[in-house]
């Protein structure tokens, strides 16, 4: 079956050049296989070396199960970014059940899960491979937000290790959410437009 995709660029840090990647709509069995066969072993083999610095906070995420739970539910969007014939990142969004905390009368795209492959993470490997995987996925979520009339609003609960990344993007830290036991971050509409402009240039 032909999968729908958008072209995107990610930066190859080792060869210092942008390369083509494909952002697929839908997470396929190939992506799940990559996660299980390539990502998970790295989470655990590398973990010992980084234990003192940081644990891999999303190592327990079971993407197979998560994708299965989303199957057939129209409110969820699943995405996979592929480059070099490997899955470089994955994301699950929810499109109708979440309201903005910054503007309570407005809806937003909620990012349920987002992750980059372990070989792209600077805290996990000494020479990470691709830069910009998270940004490609987030831009998709922002685009989805515009398409839905949510003016670019997106929201997510951040794992502690990723908080700085989201703050640096201009997302607002709306504080600790007791229900999720994580801080909730939201991207205001002015920042959403800026990010989309920056990303497309």
């Amino acid at each position: 079956m032909n999968r729908k995709y958008n072209e995107a660029k990610v930066f190859d840090r080792q060869n210092k050049q942008y390369i083509d990647s494909k952002l697929y709509f839908g997470i396929s069995s190939k992506n799940i296989d990559d996660y299980e066969q390539l990502w998970i072993p790295m989470f655990y083999s590398e973990k010992k070396e980084v234990q003192d610095r940081l644990t891999v906070e999303d190592a327990h995420w079971n993407w197979r199960k998560k994708v299965l739970l989303c199957e057939g539910i129209l409110a969820y969007g699943t995405y996979a970014l592929e480059a070099d014939n490997k899955t470089q990142g994955m994301m699950i969004t929810e499109t109708v059940m979440h309201q903005s905390k910054l503007q309570s009368t407005e809806s937003l795209i909620y990012i349920e899960f987002i992750a980059s492959a372990p070989w792209n993470r600077s805290y996990l490997v000494p020479h990470p491979k691709y830069k910009g995987v998270g940004m490609v996925l987030l831009s998709q979520a922002i685009g989805e937000s515009f398409e839905n009339g949510y003016e670019g609003r997106i929201g997510l609960h951040s794992l502690p290790g990723a908080e700085t990344f989201y703050k640096n993007l201009g997302m607002i830290d709306c504080g600790f959410d007791n229900h999720k036991q994580l801080n909730y971050f939201e991207l205001p509409i002015d920042k959403a437009s800026e990010l989309i402009k920056e990303f497309s240039t």
Binding site: K4, F25, I73, V96, E147, N148, E151
Partner: protein
């Protein structure tokens, strides 16, 4: 993605509401109907799983949402 087309017959009142929502949200009517379908399905699934969906008013009072 496979796309399918259908003709939808709406009453004048229904079309007015659809027009208003589309204008309010700055999107076309198809987007509104797709959102409505996604929301309806998401709530339906939760209720079928035995969950309850509540609406909370400004005084934090909750009333249960009942779907047909």
């Amino acid at each position: 993605m496979n796309k399918k087309t259908m003709t939808l017959n709406l009453s004048s009142d229904e079309m007015t509401v659809l027009d208003e929502l589309a204008t309010q949200k700055g999107v076309n009517k198809t987007v509104i109907l797709k959102q409505a379908l996604r929301l309806y399905q998401a709530i339906q699934i939760r209720m079928q799983n035995g969950e309850k969906v509540f609406v909370e008013d400004k005084k934090n009072e909750k009333s249960e949402l009942i779907l047909l």
